[in-house]
């Protein structure tokens, strides 16, 4: 029956209406009872009282009529007597019609009999009066008057009986009214209590499952997807609960699906990590090991299941690696990006292995470091190739030197005419050959230098250096050449410039090379300016010329090996094509940067940075 909330609410109201109706009916019933009681008094007894009073009145007037008769007024007396006789009988019959009490009948019977006698008395009185008025008076006193008093007494009784009945009826009515007040009050209280109880029952019927629903929805909202609402009712809330349970189930399925997908992804990434042939260690914020691949296990001689959850340093005693991890975990990046990746050397399985250390942070949603991936890129093979290359370059350049020595010596001696005179044409040819021979020699030198720097064989010995001295030392050997070319070399190094951290030989080489280049590309009435300025914790050193400039498309490539500017503005110069590549390597090995700003026809400005000493 209570299938829907609507019927539940309607049923609730219906029952309340029924209770109210019950109370109303009961009250009406009480009112009716009261009204009956009043009716009893008004209709039944009141009439009898009136009748009794009128009967007494008529009787008294009949008595008076008899006296009137006895005192000589026969006609008048008889008339009054008869008329009052009628009046008496009228009221008597009224009283007879309205018998409500048992005694009434007896009293009326007595009155009836008495009154008949009284009437006979009057007839005898009339007869006696005709004979002897004195005898008649005697008769009146001995017979008629006692009868009169008797009847009057009975009528009085009738009156009293009815008056008593009225009093009783009034009392009853009062009692009825009181009863009605009490019973109505009790029934009302009962009705109110019932209505309250029923109201609570009905609201519980609705609210209980709703509360349960809310509670479960909250739990589901907090992610407890295994919650199910236990609502058994068939109403709208029950339907909602069923729908909600289905939704939760679908959510759960969906989540499980996602979890499965995530698991698959996790397994995939782990498989990838494990299959990578370079050691990988994943650590968390507290530097505890999260993941390790088999090659890392082999390298450090540990087993993943034994070290996961333990601190990095506790397991792998490599302070150098840990310093990087710590830095990355703290800052989210490696501060000094200029610094080349560190190459680490480890020996295992009787073989030397070289690794390039790469530490990468994994950021979470809040951009905080949640994991740190330490990747040791196995560059052993590269290193071997590099070593081979260095050996090769070294061997080749060495092998070149011997023939170049005899070629250079031979050409020089011919030009100096040691073996005998040569003519001008011959001399020109020999000079060209000698120049190219010298270029080859430079090339061999540069190649060897570059190969050494690239393979890290050249040691950079950092000292605190006064840059001004260095610039002067670098520029001095070129001053004569500059004067011949008509080029001014200006050095503008501030006196107060702090010391820089540099290898003086290498930086002298860099400066000589840059100034030498500038001279090479600047002809007649030009100017070369070497300047320096402190910016932050670095010193910016610039070599600026008023030469032919470098086209934009070459500006990025100019530091690569064997790159020379081609095109209409190119000057045939005798460089090896390796100078700037070596310059760049040296500057970067110092932790600095080098770049060029240039405009064709205006000049070029090479700038490199050095770190401040201390």
């Amino acid at each position: 029956m209570f299938n829907t909330l609507r019927t539940k609410i309607l049923a609730g109201y219906l029952i309340l209406i029924l209770i109210i109706s019950g109370v109303a009916l009961w009250s009406i019933n009480n009112f009716l009872g009261l009204s009956n009681a009043i009716n009893d008094i008004m209709v039944e007894n009141y009439r009898s009282v009136i009748a009794a009073q009128n009967m007494i009145g008529s009787l008294e007037r009949q008595d008076s009529a008899e006296l009137l008769f006895l005192f000589g007024r026969q006609d008048k007396g008889t008339e009054v007597y008869r008329s009052n006789e009628k009046e008496f009988l009228k009221w008597f019959s009224r009283a007879e019609d309205n018998i409500t009490i048992r005694e009434e009948r007896d009293i009326l019977n007595k009155i009836d009999k008495g009154f008949t006698k009284y009437l006979q008395d009057f007839n005898q009185l009339q007869i006696k009066y005709q004979k002897n008025p004195q005898q008649a008076k005697e008769f009146y006193l001995t017979k008629a008057m006692p009868h009169f008093n008797e009847i009057k007494g009975w009528c009085q009784d009738l009156l009293e009986v009815n008056q008593n009945a009225m009093v009783k009826a009034q009392k009853r009515a009062n009692k009825n009214a009181n009863d009605a007040v009490y019973s109505t009050a009790i029934i009302s209280i009962v009705a109110i209590v019932l209505a309250l109880l029923f109201g609570i029952y009905i609201s519980n019927l609705i609210i209980k499952p709703t509360e349960k629903l809310i509670e479960t929805v909250q739990k589901v909202g907090q992610g407890e997807l295994n919650q199910e609402i236990e609502v058994k009712s068939n109403d709208e809330i029950g339907e909602l609960a069923v729908e909600f349970n289905q939704m939760t189930k679908r959510l759960k399925d969906y989540e499980e699906m996602n979890v499965n997908k995530l698991m698959a992804e996790k397994n995939k990434s782990e498989a990838i990590v494990k299959s990578i042939n370079s050691p990988i260690i994943v650590t968390d914020k507290e530097h505890k090991i999260v993941l390790l691949n088999p090659i890392a296990e082999k390298l450090f001689g540990i087993r993943e299941e034994e070290v996961v959850g333990r601190h990095f340093l506790e397991v792998i005693k490599e302070e150098e690696i840990f310093a990087k991890i710590e830095e990355v975990a703290e800052n989210g990046f490696i501060r000094d990006t200029n610094q080349k990746e560190k190459v680490l050397k480890f020996s295992y399985q009787n073989k030397e292995h070289y690794y390039r250390l790469m530490v990468t942070p994994v950021l979470d949603k809040e951009e905080e470091v949640s994991r740190v991936i330490t990747f040791l890129d196995d560059i052993t093979h590269l290193k071997e190739v590099d070593d081979l290359k260095s050996d090769f370059v070294s061997t080749v350049s060495h092998e070149f030197r011997t023939p170049l020595t005899s070629m250079n010596m031979g050409l020089s001696l011919l030009l100096e005419e040691t073996p005998g005179e040569v003519n001008d044409d011959q001399k020109e040819l020999l000079a060209a050959a000698h120049e190219d021979c010298k270029r080859l020699i430079d090339l061999v030198d540069d190649l060897l230098d570059l190969s050494k720097i690239e393979s890290g064989k050249i040691q950079i010995n950092l000292d605190s250096i006064n840059l001004g001295d260095l610039v002067n030392a670098s520029v001095r050997p070129l001053e004569e050449q500059a004067k011949e070319q008509g080029v001014d070399i200006l050095t503008k190094i501030p006196q107060e410039l702090p010391l820089v951290k540099a290898d003086s030989n290498k930086i002298t080489w860099v400066l000589s090379n840059l100034v030498g280049n500038a001279l090479r590309y600047t002809k007649g009435n030009g100017k070369i300016e070497v300047s320096a300025a402190k910016k932050g914790n670095r010193v910016y050193v610039s070599v600026e010329d008023t030469g032919i400039g470098i086209p934009e498309e070459y500006q990025d490539k100019i530091f690569e090996k064997f790159v020379r500017v081609k095109g209409e503005n190119a000057i045939d110069v005798s460089g090896t094509g390796l100078g700037l590549a070596i310059v760049k390597e040296i500057v970067e090995a110092h932790g600095g940067k080098i770049w060029v700003d240039s405009e064709v026809g205006e000049g070029s400005k090479f700038t490199f940075t050095l770190l401040l000493a201390g």
């Binding site: 030197r401 170049l404 020595t405 005899s406 010596m409 001696l413 100096e416 020699i441």
Partner: protein
């Protein structure tokens, strides 16, 4: 002028170096291996030895060492000639008693300067 012992196994270099030095007035004797070089130096006592490092039988370092060990030759100036241009090679030669070092390739003027400085 002076007598110079050139220890060098490359014919082409011998040719130009000898011509250069003789052009400048020096008397030049040539040997092509280390063992002969030591023997010749002991016997002839030259005024200066130009010594290549990579030579047969006994390398330049060993020749240098041997010459410095013998009283008869220990004061003869030795100038190393080598294609080995690295600092460590030069340092090694100096440590073993060489007086100077000339990296190949070189100009005739450089050769004559070195010889002139050390003879």
């Amino acid at each position: 002028m002076g007598r110079i012992l050139l220890v060098e196994d490359t014919k082409n270099i011998i040719l130009s170096v000898k011509m250069c030095l003789e052009g400048a007035g020096y008397e030049v004797a040539v040997v092509e291996d280390g063992v002969t070089a030591v023997d010749r130096a002991l016997r002839q006592k030259p005024d200066l030895v130009l010594l290549d490092i990579l030579i047969p039988k006994m390398n330049g370092y060993l020749v240098c060492e041997a010459l410095r060990e013998d009283d008869k030759t220990k004061d003869i100036p030795i100038v190393m000639l080598s294609a080995k241009a690295e600092e460590k090679d030069i340092k090694k030669a100096m440590k073993l008693g060489a007086d100077d070092y000339l990296v190949k390739p070189f100009e005739p003027s450089e050769l004559l300067d070195k010889v002139g400085e050390n003879i």
